[in-house]
Subunit: 168 residues, 2 copies
Amino acid sequence: MVKNGRKIVLESGDHAFMQGDSDSKVYFVKSGLLKAYYIRSDGKEHIKSFLPEGSIIGSMVALVDGDPCTFSLVASEPTTAIALPYKVLADVAQSDIGLANALVGFLGTYGKRKEQREYQLLSLSAEDRFALLIETMPDIADRVSQADLASYIGITPQALSRIKRRLK
Amino acid sequence: MVKNGRKIVLESGDHAFMQGDSDSKVYFVKSGLLKAYYIRSDGKEHIKSFLPEGSIIGSMVALVDGDPCTFSLVASEPTTAIALPYKVLADVAQSDIGLANALVGFLGTYGKRKEQREYQLLSLSAEDRFALLIETMPDIADRVSQADLASYIGITPQALSRIKRRLK
DNA sequence: ACGACAAATGAACCTCGGTTAATTACGACG
DNA sequence: CGTCGTAATTAACCGAGGTTCATTTGTCGT
């Protein structure tokens, strides 16, 4: 199935798609690192997730309703990925029960991830969220800037600097 | 399909399932109001979502991995709902392509909701989140306690009281 | 090796929400 | 009608993180 997808090669800074695009796809990250982020109305940027090799990513609203994407996807390192239009997936799933169930697995995993993130944002301090990120993605601190780390955690780079100092 | 489910009648305070249960189900709320919440390790309670008539709810992790539920579901008003074991859903979906695609729709909607909540938690102040809640569920303030409202927003009842005063 | 620009740190000040505790409002019920 | 229990409000104090701006540390490109 994945072999029907198109191979994508991105340099650092290249976008897979932009917030507002409607031709969104599912991306299977083969190597490198993608960053999913959105721009708020006040112009500030927020990082939704880091997507290292092995990740699968796509915009929910695009899959469910065909709405334009709510976030952008950009390469943070030279990256290769397989891109598969949602429409193809959904159409084929209408007749392919194996794929339909694979989709269920994908969506379930996605929901699970977001459920965990919701918990983190509601219950954990910025310091705890930072510790958790380092624990689950030990190499991430060396692969992205402090500003990106802070943005993912939901604080400013200055606050992250303070936290690092607190942890000595 | 839903007609295969079992009808559930709950009084205020009755639980549909508890955090840690493994026999979780999907619930279709027919009337009344359910509250999804979890208990943190420090004993504090956090409200994940309010589920008025028409809502569908279930635990992601239970569906995907068969793991125990990560949250509890309790009636906040006398409530009737249809309960459908996940296992039944998942099993039938293996051979029923229509159901499999319905599941895709359900999970997609769920993911979309969580995506929006993530955005709210990352980008909005407590005051904005309160305003948004009132906007999307105008009657909720009259149906649940101030403490529950505050818990959903992610603040203390005192802070919510302050916010209400600020809004005059 | 040098300068240039971005990234990271640091400091000073402010705001929001948490904590604790006291006070008030509003039941249900004898 | 008064009382007990719960919910909601208010106040005083504190700490985490935001904002702004200055300073240091990198890291490149030539």
